[in-house]
């Protein structure tokens, strides 16, 4: 199967009831078909 390499990223921002924000960058990240394909990064906290 031929396909273009791609990267999936999941980021999140929590807005608390008092208006403060917490940014969770790249809480999940997977690279498929790239040179880094085997470097799957999952479940890193990613909290900024």
């Amino acid at each position: 199967m031929n396909y273009k390499p791609f990267t999936i990223k999941v980021n999140a921002t929590v807005t608390r009831a008092d208006g403060t924000q917490e940014v969770y960058g790249d809480i999940d990240l997977v690279k498929v078909g790239t040179e880094e394909e085997n470097d799957l990064v999952t479940n890193d906290t990613g909290q900024n």
Binding site: I8, V10, D28, T42, N43
Partner: protein
């Protein structure tokens, strides 16, 4: 987009979320440019929390339906080929259908009409559990096709909080 509170790690064999909570929301879909024109699919969905809850996995579905989600009412032993669930009637009777029980997918082939499903264990390439699956473990049915699932460290939400997820797929 739907989300759940189960803390297991996702597998390509999964067919549903771990412990889904609340109802799915519609996402805002757009095509963005990061490197080359239109190289990225972006899906944005927001949870508005009106209760104390945790979030540890999300999924993207081709349906906005809420998945049936009961619990085991008795433990499942490694050799068992039937499971007992509450909310039996919410799963429908269109056999066969798949259910997610922790990290294992089971194919429900029939039922007794009240609280017992007869299953094929270790379905969809998942690993049949070699240990006891305890009572109260969620038994999650399928609502549409889940084409992306992500697990991450637990985030706790309180009433009045909101959580926006940005899921991007960038073609390189």
């Amino acid at each position: 987009m739907a989300w759940g509170s189960g803390t297991q790690t996702v597998s390509p064999t999964d067919v549903a979320l771990f412990s889904p909570t609340l109802n799915p929301v519609s996402c805002t879909i757009s095509k963005e440019t990061i490197v080359t024109s239109g190289d990225t699919y972006l899906c944005i969905g927001t949870i508005n929390s009106d209760i104390y809850q945790t979030v540890s996995n999300i999924g993207l579905f081709d349906s906005g339906l809420t998945a049936p989600n009961g619990q085991l009412i008795s433990q499942v032993n490694p050799g068992d080929t039937s499971i007992r669930v509450n909310l039996y009637g919410t799963y429908g009777n269109s056999f066969p259908f798949e259910v997610q029980v922790s990290t294992e997918v089971m194919l429900v082939t029939s039922g007794n009409g009240t609280d017992t499903f007869y299953v094929t264990r270790g379905y969809n390439g998942s690993t049949r559990s070699t240990s006891i699956i305890p009572t109260y473990t969620p038994v999650t049915g399928v609502a549409g096709t889940m084409f992306l699932k992500s697990s991450f460290p637990v985030v706790s939400l309180t009433p009045g909080d909101s959580m926006q997820f940005n899921v991007s797929i960038q073609f390189i």
